[in-house]
Symmetry: C2
Subunit: 159 residues, 2 copies
């Protein structure tokens, strides 16, 4: 692994990042839903029009997965993420319809060093997924584990 630009130590509360955009197609929405969330409003345009969602829209889990991919592609290459213990909250603020182009803004809202593992820290992010009109589609409040900067660990070890 190449040396990351941002270790856990380098991301204070208030640190921000953003991804590029991705246009979500009807085919993708139907394909994801066929495998993971085959409810009528994610599969069938006519059924979706009659639903309270108002039209064919992505599974909420699909929105989460799309956001994750944007973050992995555009934000994580400069970091050293080690996985996540969980999610504090997801809000699907409005449906994600076919043809919309979404992007994610991230902000660090909290952080803590790991008690068990001196080589690791936890960072709390607030993700906001918006469309091309800047309507908020989804927010996600989550913790991610990151590697700590090696020299910090040595200093602590030597102290």
């Amino acid at each position: 692994m190449t040396t990351p630009k941002y270790y856990w130590d380098d991301m204070d509360v208030g640190f921000t990042a953003r991804t590029g955009g991705k246009t979500v197609t009807k085919d993708e929405i139907v394909k994801f839903a066929s495998v993971y969330d085959p409810q009528p409003f994610h599969l069938d345009e006519e059924a979706a029009k009659d639903s309270i969602l108002g039209g064919l829209c992505a599974s909420g889990w699909h929105s989460c997965a799309i956001a994750m991919r944007l973050v992995v592609d555009d934000v994580y290459p400069e970091m050293a993420p080690l996985g996540s213990p969980g999610i504090e909250e997801v809000r699907w603020r409005r449906p994600l319809y076919a043809g919309e182009t979404v992007k994610v803004a991230l902000e660090v809202t909290d952080r803590r060093a790991s008690k068990k593992r001196p080589d690791m820290g936890l960072t709390r992010f607030f993700w906001t997924m918006t469309n091309e009109k800047d309507d908020t589609i989804m927010t996600c409040d989550c913790w991610v584990m990151f590697a700590r900067r090696p020299e910090t660990q040595e200093e602590k070890g030597a102290a």
Copy 2:
């Protein structure tokens, strides 16, 4: 749509349901991760062994999506779900490794009628995903919207 067995009105706090099991393959894990979460520990067995996750394991979002499919297949056919406004919490308690067979137990923990829509109510579920040894893989605390029993609405309208 056929008449559901359980409307919102029929699911009190304490109502439970459970899904059948599904075996998660390495191919599925890698396929999902390739599209939505291409981090080394979800794609490559060798990289995964060196990670804190200890072996190739599903993206947390994949675990959520697998749980959703089990619920849609085995629990929702008797209900009238209308979508979800969001998730209160997800905990990825331990990695979901290739070859494990998972199932989901659901329990209703809260409920409220919709203020805006008399034909709808919200139900809060706690999902517990376990493997074949009953180890807890994931929990998910989420709200789902359901249709209300039509005769209840008429009674309320007439009152």
